[in-house]
């Protein structure tokens, strides 16, 4: 296999991302993936990959993706939290990579909670 990725790609990425600075802090939607031992065992890393793929594919830039440890609801892992500014935090459980496009479109873009995947909501 010929090597196609080079560190020079990073300079391009840096140029492309100049408009990111404005969207950086405050007022940003957060997506948090549980990545404790329980989350990892349940496939959280693959869910995270699916989220990154979907965000990159749709060129969504104003979202902060983060990871967290075990929050004590191991039976519902993989757990993914969506926090839109000014709205309650919604925790989705038993999330599989195939659920990710739906969560992104419905919750992130359309602002509608995907109730059949919800395990918790904090007001």
């Amino acid at each position: 296999m010929p090597k196609i990725k080079s560190l020079e790609d990073l300079r391009k990425l840096r140029e492309e991302s100049k408009d990111l600075t404005s969207a950086r802090s405050g007022g940003k939607t957060k997506i948090i993936v549980g990545m404790g031992t329980c989350g990892i065992a349940a496939g959280a890393r693959e869910v995270l990959s699916a989220i990154l793929n979907e965000l990159a594919r749709r060129e969504i830039k104003d979202v902060a993706v983060e990871t967290t440890g075990c929050i004590g609801m191991c039976q519902y892992e993989p757990l993914v939290d969506f926090i839109r500014p000014g709205e309650p935090r919604v925790t989705y459980g038993n999330v599989e990579p195939k659920d990710v496009p739906r969560l992104i479109v419905e919750h992130l873009i359309n602002g509608k909670v995907v109730w059949d995947k919800v395990v918790g909501r904090t007001d």
Partner: protein, 192 residues
């Protein structure tokens, strides 16, 4: 137990960042002659005192409050020992921790490598403020990824969290890892 080595690496390296490490070295070595896969995760975090170090291999030891079990280290130890490998942990309060595990490559219970690139990319995305160093060695040839080096090109630490960068990084690591296996003539150990 976790599915593959890449998942153990993710899990164990997270302990390092939770111990407030500012620099974490992850080294994975494959030795075909010795039929050994060895993993080393070394950090400069808060370390553990002797008492905690003695208890840390016990599943009912954890520092977190949400649950009273901690399975990360016991899982890795069990996985290594069940394929005739080894497990070692050394730590000093205030200095850091080193976890070493070895796996017999030809043992039926040896876990597959899994997606190591996805693990490293996940760690960098999750904790971009940490200086991550990943070294992958196959029979004497090595690939070294030093996050600080990448940052010289990227310029901005904030970009480490961008999906585009993380996806690029994953492919970059994957490519370099498979190049090492090609050099070797490839006996298919890099399978997922």
């Amino acid at each position: 137990m976790l599915e593959d080595l890449s998942q153990y690496i993710l899990d164990i390296a997270e302990n390092s960042v939770k111990a407030k490490a500012s620099r974490v070295l992850i080294e994975l070595k494959i030795d075909s002659k010795k039929k050994l896969i060895s993993l080393c995760v070394c950090d400069d975090g808060c370390g553990m005192d002797e008492d905690l170090l003695k208890q840390v291999e016990d599943p009912f030891t954890t520092t977190r409050k949400e649950r009273r079990v901690g399975l990360g280290i016991p899982f890795l130890k069990q996985a290594a020992l069940s394929c005739d490998g080894f497990f070692e942990i050394a730590s000093e309060k205030g200095k850091g921790t080193i976890v070493k595990a070895g796996f017999r490559k030809d043992h039926i219970d040896c876990p597959p490598l899994g997606d190591v690139a996805a693990t490293i990319a996940t760690l960098i995305m999750g904790w971009p403020e940490c200086c991550w160093i990943f070294r992958y060695e196959v029979d004497g040839n090595a690939f070294l990824l030093d996050l600080e080096e990448l940052l010289k090109y990227l310029g901005d630490r904030e970009l480490l969290k961008s999906p585009k960068f993380i996806l690029w990084l994953k492919e970059y690591i994957q490519e370099n890892m498979s190049l090492l296996h090609e050099k070797k003539g490839g006996d298919g150990i890099a399978q997922d």
